[in-house]
């Protein structure tokens, strides 16, 4: 019988390597993100066959667009067709907001209330925020699918005039990147809220997205709102994201931020913002939201640890 190897013998592998606790920085972050995103996608997609999953993914955004198209049709009939592009694009892009916000918030609720894994995830060496972002990415992918199909339905079946050659791809890519960043930060804010609340919080992302719908110019121009609410809309990065995407996809379309009698027109002296203004406004408002989101999330995390909320399950 040979003697057991110990850490003291020359050339032997140590039983505990303190170097492993230091991690490998960005490599570990990327690996955590990839693993969380893959897990999130499996959780989102493996519950059914691909056809049903596809129907499920697109039914919600398409129905949301159809509600608005029906409202438009009932009131304006054929004369309101030009406004269709406005509402279809707004409601299609809104599926990014709903899925982006819900993805992060539901990750907390799923892992804490349903699978009861949050405490294990939290104490694992992975960065908690990176894990949440990874899980949320899967849902954003589902939202992207819904948005693309809704736009396609709008163009092919609802008569939305669209010219692919007129698209400002550079503006589209920049605004999408900045807008998605803002959506994820808002999702992180709501995840912070869900760390504090209980099981019934499942409907909170929808409620928050619904409230933001009012001040984002998603389906009607901000100019319709009272002036103080328009100001809130101008401070909201989602308004600038939607405006940027609209401007990129439909360069001649109506502005959701500006317009006759709007606060934007009064402040800037122009009826609609140009591309550099949109990107700058999106950067500034996005930075403000990011700062606020980071502060709130860290506060919520500390409070949850302090009060033992991370492994608390609730029910009513």
């Amino acid at each position: 019988m040979t003697a057991p190897t110990t850490a003291l013998e020359p050339g032997a592998r140590p039983l505990f390597d303190p170097g492993r606790t230091r991690g490998r920085g960005s490599v570990d972050l990327v690996r955590s993100f990839r693993t969380a995103a893959a897990l999130g996608w499996k959780m989102e997609a493996n519950w059914t066959d691909p056809l049903l999953f596809f129907i499920y993914s697109v039914a919600k955004p398409i129905s949301a667009a159809l509600i608005l198209v029906a409202m438009l049709e009932v009131i304006t009939g054929a004369s309101g067709r030009e406004f269709r592009g406005f509402v279809v694009v707004g409601s299609a892009l809104w599926s990014f907001v709903i899925s982006g916000i819900a993805g992060l918030a539901w990750s907390v609720l799923d892992d804490r209330e349903r699978y009861r894994m949050l405490k294990y995830v939290y104490v694992s060496p992975s960065d908690f925020v990176v894990v949440l972002l990874g899980r949320g990415t899967a849902r954003i992918a589902v939202g992207a699918m819904g948005a693309a199909i809704t736009l396609a339905v709008g163009v092919l079946l609802l008569g939305v005039a669209f010219d692919p050659l007129a698209v400002d791809w550079r503006l589209l890519v920049v605004t999408m990147a900045l807008g998605l960043h803002a959506i994820v930060v808002i999702g992180l804010l709501l995840a912070a809220v869900c760390l504090q609340t209980r099981q019934e919080s499942w409907s909170y992302p929808e409620a928050v997205a619904g409230a933001l719908f009012l001040v984002s110019g998603a389906v009607f121009p901000l100019a319709v709102l009272p002036a103080p609410i328009q100001v809130i809309g101008l401070l909201n990065p989602l308004s600038w994201w939607l405006e940027g995407c609209r401007r990129a996809l439909f360069p001649d379309g109506a502005s959701s931020v500006g317009g006759t009698g709007s606060v934007y027109a009064e402040l800037s002296g122009r009826l609609a913002p140009d591309a550099p203004t949109i990107v700058l406004a999106l950067l500034v408002t996005g930075a403000l939201v990011t700062l606020g989101g980071a502060v709130v999330f860290r506060w919520s995390e500390r409070r949850a640890k302090d009060r033992g909320l991370i492994d608390q399950t609730t029910g009513s």
Binding site: M71, V74, E113, F213
Partner: protein, 293 residues
């Protein structure tokens, strides 16, 4: 010789202890209703965040659709349709999230086997959930209706108050009956149920004509009137609350009230049958405790 070992009253043995009178069964089921409703009502007071997320934010969502109509310069009664629809979505969301998905949720939490093992009718658990949820939904609906009516100056024109109230309560009865049916189905469907709750929001709002007369949808609207209590109730209430200014209609409110009565009876009987069947099947297949699938 009698003993109190089996139940609170003196009995000769376990068989006699289990032999309950009709009054005891009823009293037990009523206590189950109260017991299941209690955490929902009590929970409202314990965590006031629902006031923001369940009342204020949904009010803002309703406001969005009001502004869509304002942007289109729609006739004022259409703003009333949005307000009425916004109020009624509170009940629909409650049925979907806190009734239909609830038994599946209870299974995941490990409570379901306790419900089935307890000496009570599972219908009383569902009824308790409905009552508890109704209080929260009714608060939300009332706030949306009152505040939005004041803020957006909605002019109601009601000629038949009695019928309007009757239709409202029949709509609730049919909705919660449907919730009980869905709860049984969702229990059987497992994880798919969770995702299906998503499908039961916007698509149902669209075919139910939440913000516009359902007759505008043609055959789809007619089908919705015959199958979805939200569509039937909303259409009837819209006709009664804004008499003379609704536009195209398929059926009169009286006929729609009869449809709601039929729906209520059908859904409650169906829920009872399905719960019994699923309970038996779940016991036989041992799936009451199988979670996360």
């Amino acid at each position: 010789m009698t003993t109190r070992a089996f139940v609170g009253r003196p009995t000769a043995g376990p068989r006699e202890a289990a032999d309950w009178s009709r009054g005891q069964v009823l009293s037990n089921d009523l206590r189950s209703v109260v017991g299941r409703a209690f955490p929902r009502v009590r929970g409202m007071a314990r965590e006031p965040s629902w006031l923001l997320f369940e009342i204020l934010l949904p009010f803002l969502t309703t406001s969005s659709f009001v502004f869509v109509y304002q942007a289109l310069h729609a006739p004022p009664e259409y703003i009333g349709f949005v307000v009425l629809g916004g109020a009624m979505t509170a009940f629909w969301l409650n049925v979907v999230w806190m009734m239909a998905a609830q038994l599946y949720w209870e299974k995941d939490q490990g409570n379901l086997e306790l419900y089935f093992a307890a000496p009570m009718d599972v219908m009383s658990v569902l009824f308790g959930m409905a009552i508890g949820g109704l209080i929260m939904s009714a608060t939300r609906a009332a706030v949306v209706l009152v505040v939005a009516s004041v803020v957006y100056r909605v002019q109601f024109s009601v000629e038949q108050w009695g019928l309007l109230l009757l239709v409202f309560f029949l709509t609730l009865a049919a909705l919660y009956g449907l919730g009980m049916v869905l709860a049984s189905l969702f229990l059987m469907w497992g994880r798919e149920a969770w995702h299906l709750t998503q499908l039961l929001a916007e698509p149902v709002y669209f075919v139910s004509g939440l913000n516009f007369p359902v007759a505008a949808l043609g055959r789809i609207g007619a089908l919705a009137l015959a199958t979805i209590p939200l569509a039937t109730g909303l259409d009837a209430m819209r006709q009664l609350a804004f008499s003379g200014s609704v536009g195209p209609v398929f059926l009169s409110p009286e006929v729609e009230a009869l449809i709601l009565i039929a729906m209520t009876v059908l859904f409650v009987l169906l829920a009872r049958f399905m719960l019994r069947t699923l309970e038996e099947r779940a016991r036989r297949e041992g799936r009451l405790t199988v979670r996360w699938r």
